[in-house]
Amino acid sequence: MEDSQDYNFAVSNEELLIRCAEQDQEALHTFFRRHERPVYNLLYRMLGNHEDSEEALADVFVKVWRSAGKFRGASKVTTWLYHVAANTARDRLRSRKAKAAEVAIEDMVMAEVDIARANPDGYVDPEKACLDSEQSAFLTAAINRLSEEDRLLITLYHLQEVGYEEISKITGISPSHLKVKLFRARRRLRDHCLMLEKEETDNEMQRDTTEPNGLQPRAAEAIGD
């Protein structure tokens, strides 16, 4: 993947933004390489698919390029960046006229397996990856059923490990209210997980009833013929 020099940690985020405001493309490139993964992760968990998330990722950094000069240092650069990313995701979600098509759990498991395989953090045991992926898929599907705000809060706090103070600045929700909102979001997430599990069990039972041998319809047809 990208060379570690792309991150260039010798230069601060603030310095990179100043250079971006002066039209330095190299500075934006370094800034992008440094932050693309966490920002993409947030966008993916908000938008639920790679295509939208990649377009949104590009949008976020184009916005950074255009408004770098407006950054006054009142908050951390990452707070500002997450704020831009969250707004971009929200705009995209609102621009979707119809609700995003629900993805089947099987497809989500495959997507999560792909994510686990693509994870550059180290070796992944294939069997464990599959079990983990099933759990991740259920959780991801449940997250996708949450409201926009719940999804943002859960992602920022639990997946991105952003603190209460920073989330408060990103979302504009007071820190004390934030804890209550997070708790409620987790309860709703748990409810969605239980609902999904029930739906999946019902589907399996239905499949077992229609195909007693567990064969695919076409295979059953072929044997019947």
Binding site: Y40, N119, R190
Partner: protein
């Protein structure tokens, strides 16, 4: 959540533990919270499949040379002076217009030229050393 993570004060922790001993519902909620938080923490970090930088690079273009010229201090100074001149000419027109006098085009141009030379840092008298010339031109105009 803060209790699970051990972020509470000892007195608060003790109080919650006392309650948990008596309340089965809260013990259940706490256990569910712990499991959910652990599972959320285990969700993998997702990376983009394609290199998005190419898409970004095609969307950003350095601003035009005209824009860059406008960003320079000299250009800003000229712009400020020009705006001041326009405002002054307008005020002159309004003032003398009320008295039934029309300031002709040549006068306006002359005033504008003088204002362009005016030192913008002179705060006490906006016309500075050009006051006499300015008044002279206005007198001739009317």
């Amino acid at each position: 959540m803060d209790y699970s993570l051990g972020r509470l004060k000892p007195s608060e922790t003790k109080s919650i533990e006392g309650h948990l001993k008596r309340c089965e519902d809260c013990r259940l909620v706490l256990e569910e919270e712990r499991v959910l938080c652990r599972q959320l923490g285990e969700l993998p970090m997702v990376s983009p499949a394609n290199d998005v930088w190419a898409l970004i690079r095609s969307s950003i273009r350095p601003r035009s040379s005209v824009f860059n010229l406008l960003r320079t201090r000299v250009a800003k100074l000229v712009a400020v002076t020009a705006v001041t001149a326009i405002v002054a000419v307008t005020l002159v027109n309004v003032r003398f217009g009320e008295q039934g006098t029309v300031v002709d085009k040549e006068t306006v141009q002359a005033v504008t030229a003088i204002m362009m030379q005016t030192d913008r840092n002179t705060t006490d008298d906006p016309l500075g050393s050009n006051r006499d010339a300015f008044v002279g031109v206005i007198d001739e105009g009317i």
